[in-house]
Symmetry: C2
Subunit: 454 residues, 2 copies
């Protein structure tokens, strides 16, 4: 048995106690009455970092809740890893559905129940404990480490975004590590290596100069709602193909390994998603497997259409103006601004000639793709394989993780997203839990990851 | 000069005074604080009928404002005419835009300004005065007359609808006469001979069992808003053609006279409508003249689309359910219920296979077409030609006049819609007026109409 393993075994009970202490602080970032609790939770994290032996560990004031920053940079010649986590938690309503009080950590059947047990105090604490173990056993860490923990992840994350944008030099690193995700099942170690970006737009269609009555004008009036229906039906067909010229041009072909993984879908992820939607089969580009469509294909979705009358009963208005909110999710190769331009052109080309159209870019964000053979990904892969006894799978997420995209964009470092949550951890819901096995394995994975990175 | 003309000339100043007395009563049917005024206006009408010499003249209590009913049935062997009008008026806001107080009748430049001056006290009073003149001069009316005046025309008209449905025997007649419409210009006498009906529907589309996040499900999820766009774009194309199989089958071809009138459009009605819409040209089936499209063609219009997110900013929801309000305006040959069935079939045929669709019939109403060569229409035509010195034009309205459709449906009698309002009478707006010339000519037309009918 290694000295590291011995240290972990001897101290694991205390690790859980340290986590429990943190969990008892109700650091709900969206509720003003918990502002002091949020601050206490930040200070608890600073204290943890100091105990590990970080040369710098402090709270950083923001317009919102404080950030926690720590650094240990005494491994010259070794890479620098930026570690992210968050210490704020979701509200607990409906509180009557909790089997034990939401801020009283309780162990049942090998799980630790508490708000934040997984998301993200539990996951952040296992990283702290990996760092502690390495430091105690070796007197040093195998890599240089910067830690940045936020208290607004459940509240929009504005402060960390501003901080990262304003301090790229301070946060300079060779890789970033985010421990805030999960695995498909407890025996399926996984790494997220891609996120989709987004272009979120609003299309405004103008017909007549004022609302019209369909009795008087029906048959000769432009109808912006009808024009929007025509535009939208031309942008994407019933089989999910997007008809925006140029959109697919820069889309990189997935690797054969990815294709094989998606088409075999041995984990039954497609089936699980179908069940979750409550439908009989997936919609969209059915010539591609579900995982490919979510992770590696662009999609176009209408989110809402405004204009005219949608109240109870009947009103025969032909509105002067109607708007639609339409977004595209974009694999990393497709850039948000470029896609917006293509989208705008396609909307204008699809519009009937009797209306005028404006297209607004409400917001955009880039996707991300980490090369699985980059050194930090290789290190994470090996660490997972070592602890779980099997090779991890590589997953693409269909949505965005803003902090990951931010690190990618500002710090230009590969981002390792490796977390140990499970699908039944009840994140954001009553009876949130974290598997003690996952905590235990996770901290061993992280310790091994840091060693391999060094 | 006829005795009738002599009587009218000698009494015309008093006729206007009688109208002014009625106009001073602020009978706003939608404002509860005017309930007593509405009743006073009803009693004023009863008094007018009694003075004419009606054998029966009374108010009829309803759940809302009273109806006024009068009858004179002493012309055996002659037809019976049912006369409709309304004594309630619109609110007067914004009151500061009135040049003279809204309920102080004021004559300027040959016009009588007051709320209700035209709509519909002025028009109803000229009918009363035609009846009075005939009675005084001849000691009898040329036809049997029933008068039904309502006080809820500006408030939904529920009471008269119930009354007509419950008392078809009492209201039995050979023709009905509605004096609540206008003419395109003061030198263009006109008759409305057709109205469109309506089928007003709600289409509900269901996708997944709950709202979904487009990051996680975008690419495999059914999107009901997108499905609605596809359905709507298939129901009607950008050129206004409706693709509902069978819809046009029962549509009667207009007569050559109608076609010629519409295509020459010597009155420039098409141009006027374009200007009113503030557009450069009409939309829709441009192979048909505008008047034909409004009066004699069915139209399909989307009035609103609900579901998802339409607030400020961006939300990436894929809604589980979306609904659209869609109506069709129908020339008289197309029956509301039959069209609903065709519509429902077309919607289901147009729906993508990954959603389920429900179509609801929110309400329907039939159109109407009075044969221009029916005896009451011939009598009205001759009376207009006599007084205005030119043949009247025949117009189709694109909307509905519920009371006309109701008389048509329940009483099965031809409905003459002949009114003397002008486009600049400011109905429902500040500074409503009625041309004294139109009042004067109108009462002569109505007197002549009654004589010819007898």
């Amino acid at each position: 048995m290694t000295a590291l393993e011995t240290y972990i075994r001897e101290n694991e009970a205390r690790f859980i106690e340290d986590l429990k202490g943190w969990l008892r602080i109700p650091s709900i970032s969206t509720l003003p009455e918990h502002t002091a609790d949020v601050r206490r939770a930040a200070e608890y994290a600073v204290d943890q970092l100091q105990r590990i032996g970080f040369e710098r560990a402090e709270t950083i004031a923001t317009y919102g809740h404080p950030l926690v920053y720590g650094e240990w940079l005494q491994a010259p010649g070794k890479p620098t890893l930026l570690i992210y986590g968050h210490y704020d938690v979701q509200p607990v309503d409906p509180v009557e559905l909790w089997e034990t009080p939401p801020f009283e950590p309780t162990i049942r059947d090998g799980n630790l129940y508490c708000r934040g047990a997984c998301d993200d105090k539990g996951q952040t604490m296992l990283v702290f404990k990996a760092l502690e173990s390495l430091m105690r056993v070796n007197g040093a860490l195998p890599v240089n480490v910067k830690v940045l923990i936020e208290g607004e992840e459940e509240a929009g994350g504005e402060s960390i975004e501003r901080y990262v944008k304003e301090h790229p030099e301070r946060l300079k690193c060779d890789a970033a590590f985010i421990c805030d995700t999960g695995m498909p099942a407890k025996d399926i170690p996984s790494l997220i290596y891609a996120l989709r970006g987004i272009t979120y737009t609003e299309v405004e269609v103008q017909g007549a100069k004022r609302d019209l009555h369909s009795g008087i004008y029906g048959g000769i009036a432009p109808n912006p709602l009808h024009a929007l229906a025509i535009i939208i039906s031309k942008l994407k067909d019933a089989d999910g193909h997007i008809h925006i010229p140029g959109l697919y041009d820069k889309l990189r072909q997935p690797t054969q390994i990815e294709k094989d993984f998606w088409s075999t879908d041995t984990l039954g992820i497609g089936e699980m998603l179908v069940k979750e939607m409550g439908v009989s089969q997936t919609s969209g580009e059915n010539e591609y497997p579900p995982m490919e469509r979510i992770g590696a294909r662009p999609t176009l979705e209408v989110h809402g259409i405004a204009g005219g009358f949608v109240g109870e009963g009947a009103k025969t208005v032909i509105p002067a103006v109607a708007t639609a909110k339409i977004s595209l999710r974009l694999p990393a190769d497709l850039k948000s601004e470029e896609v917006f331009t293509l989208f705008e052109q396609a909307v204008k080309a699809a519009a009937p000639s009797d209306v005028t159209v404006q297209v607004r870019n409400l917001h955009g964000g880039e996707g991300m793709l980490v090369e699985p053979d980059s050194p930090p990904m290789v290190a994470a892969t090996q660490a997972l394989a070592e602890v779980y006894g099997k090779e991890p799978i590589y997953l693409r997420e269909g949505g965005s993780i803003p902090i990951a995209a931010l690190f990618d964009e500002i710090l230009k470092a590969p981002v390792v997203m490796m977390g140990f949550g499970l699908p039944d951890d009840n994140l954001h819901a009553p009876n949130e839990k974290y598997s003690l096995d996952q905590f235990s394995r996770g901290l061993r994975v992280v310790a091994s990851f840091l060693q391999k990175l060094g």
